[in-house]
């Protein structure tokens, strides 16, 4: 009932302004590119899709919890989130004083992120989709060879505690998407397709026999170490993990 009411209001308002019930999306034109971990310059092809302009905020997530009691901290099943789930919140549905409503929600597991997007009729982006949009800087859809682009990403690794910065505080990229770099890590749908083991030196020695189809992980560009770290973080997490520096955003297929 409550939800229906909410949706009604939402639909009414969304014509006029972007209220918080459905975050703003932009359309991403598909294409193909060679990701960091490709098989011998194997291109991946991305279909057209829509992506959230910003990561999901504390405020949006708070509303989600209002409607979805099973994901509140005291109800969540341990199978689906570890002990750090929403650890900074003061209660089941309230933020603590030092958390900004406009900061990205963090300390959320893959399961809850997945469910959040599905509840909105969306889904999490795949690794390939996320990386595709994240190649862009302000002017170019693929800025991976631009020095300044990499330096921006790397400077973030050296900035402490950016998880409480507000969304939109980084640059607007070629597609009109903010905060892919410089705010928090983000969950991807198939993060567990990254077969980076803890032994990174083993991962690059073409030890292909451990994998069906001999897909050894070889970086197409070893210098692209900014991206390396994203893959390393994906390889190090499990779906129930929650981290201070890890949030998410949703995407939607473009079925036209």
């Amino acid at each position: 009932m409550n939800t229906v009411l909410r949706l009604m209001i939402c639909i009414l308002f969304s014509w006029i302004t972007n209220v918080n019930c459905q975050s703003k999306m932009v359309s991403i034109e598909g294409g193909s590119y060679i990701p960091l971990y490709g098989r011998d310059s194997m291109k991946v092809t991305i279909a057209d899709f829509y992506m959230d302009v910003y990561p999901v905020t504390n405020k949006e997530f708070q509303q989600f919890l209002d409607d979805t009691p099973k994901w509140r901290r005291s109800n969540v099943k341990r199978l689906f989130a570890d002990d750090n789930y929403l650890m900074s919140w003061s209660s089941d549905t309230a933020l603590s004083e030092n958390q900004s409503l406009k900061a990205p929600v963090t300390n959320v597991s893959w399961f809850v992120a997945n469910d959040y997007c599905e509840c909105q009729g969306k889904r999490l982006p795949t690794v390939d989709e996320w990386e595709y949009v994240a190649m862009a800087n302000e002017e170019l859809p693929d800025a991976r060879t631009i020095k300044g682009y990499n330096e921006y990403i790397l400077s973030w690794y050296e900035k402490p505690k950016t998880f409480n910065n507000e969304i939109g505080s980084t640059f607007k990229n070629y597609w009109g998407v903010y905060d892919l770099h410089g705010l928090v890590w983000e969950w991807t749908l198939d993060f567990n397709s990254v077969l980076v083991s803890g032994e990174s030196r083993k991962d690059v020695d073409n030890d292909s026999n451990l994998f069906c189809g001999s897909a050894a992980i070889g970086a197409t560009d070893l210098m692209n170490y900014a991206a390396f770290m994203r893959y390393a973080i994906r390889g190090s997490v499990k779906a129930k993990y929650t981290m201070k520096n890890l949030g998410f955003r949703c995407v939607k297929d473009n079925n036209q």
Binding site: M1, N2, R39, P69, R72, S74, N75, K77, R78, L79, F80, S91, D92, W110, F111, N114, L189, D190, N192, S193, V194, L195, N209, L210, F211, C212, G213, S214, A215, G235, K238, A239, K240
Partner: protein, 235 residues
């Protein structure tokens, strides 16, 4: 719906969740013991040091509960509500497998390199379980390629690999169901061509309540520990 009812409804809703706001309400009595077990199974009610080796006492882990109740714990895989098709064409949820220890592995039938070894590992494990326990546990092989591995195909694979007995179950899920299940097992996989996947080689053992008790990672590794864990569950 009139307004006062609505308010009342909200109030009740809030109340019902407020009551479970404390973490882990049904926590058992805590007990501390010496990590070296100098005094055998002796436990203490508070922190301190072992009188024998002077080590700090540590919190005793609670043993997982066994499945003779309808309750499932927070850690149980039976919390997953995804739907699966068996090789016999039946549609089930994971909780339909409740009541027997489970030995699970994720494979796909068109795989040439690692999966035959994983299947052989499963067979070797099953060979080491006493005959009279055959019906007391369930071996489950879940396909990571649900598009190719239809129930019919899984059935053929089962027959080909002599795994067509009652104790063997093959499952085809939805793409998202498989991804979610892999995440519960911490199995990684990636489609690298229309018919090939890279994937972790992990065999997982669950107790009858669906709680993970053991994982064996690798190909053709010594499965002594895995077999022992299964035998412990059958006791």
């Amino acid at each position: 719906m009139n307004f006062s009812k609505y308010v009342l409804f909200l109030f009740v809703a809030c109340m019902s969740f407020a009551s479970c706001n404390t973490k882990k309400t049904n926590k058992d009595q805590v007990a501390y013991h010496c990590p070296m077990e100098c005094e055998g199974d002796k436990t203490y009610e508070s922190e301190g040091s072992c009188p024998v080796c002077k080590m700090d006492l540590v919190l005793l882990e609670n043993k997982p509960i066994l499945a003779n109740t309808d309750e499932i714990s927070e850690e149980s895989i039976f919390n997953l509500t995804s739907k699966w098709n068996t090789e016999e064409g039946k549609t089930i949820e994971l909780k339909d497998l409740k009541g027997k220890p489970l030995v699970m592995v994720m494979i796909y039938t068109t795989c040439k390199a690692a999966c035959p070894r994983l299947v052989a590992d499963m067979r070797n494990i099953s060979k080491q379980i006493p005959e009279n326990n055959t019906d007391d546990l369930q071996y489950v092989l879940i396909s990571i390629d649900p598009e190719t591995d239809t129930p019919k195909r899984l059935k053929a694979f089962a027959i080909e690999n002599q795994m067509d007995g009652e104790q063997w179950t093959f499952l085809q899920g939805s793409m998202s169901g498989v991804r979610e299940f892999a995440n519960v097992l911490a199995v990684k996989y990636k489609q690298i061509s229309p018919i090939d996947f890279s994937h972790s080689n992990i065999i997982s053992v669950f107790n009858a309540a669906g709680e993970l008790v053991h994982q064996q990672e690798g190909l053709g590794v010594d499965n002594k520990e895995t077999v022992q864990e299964i035998k412990n569950l059958l006791k």
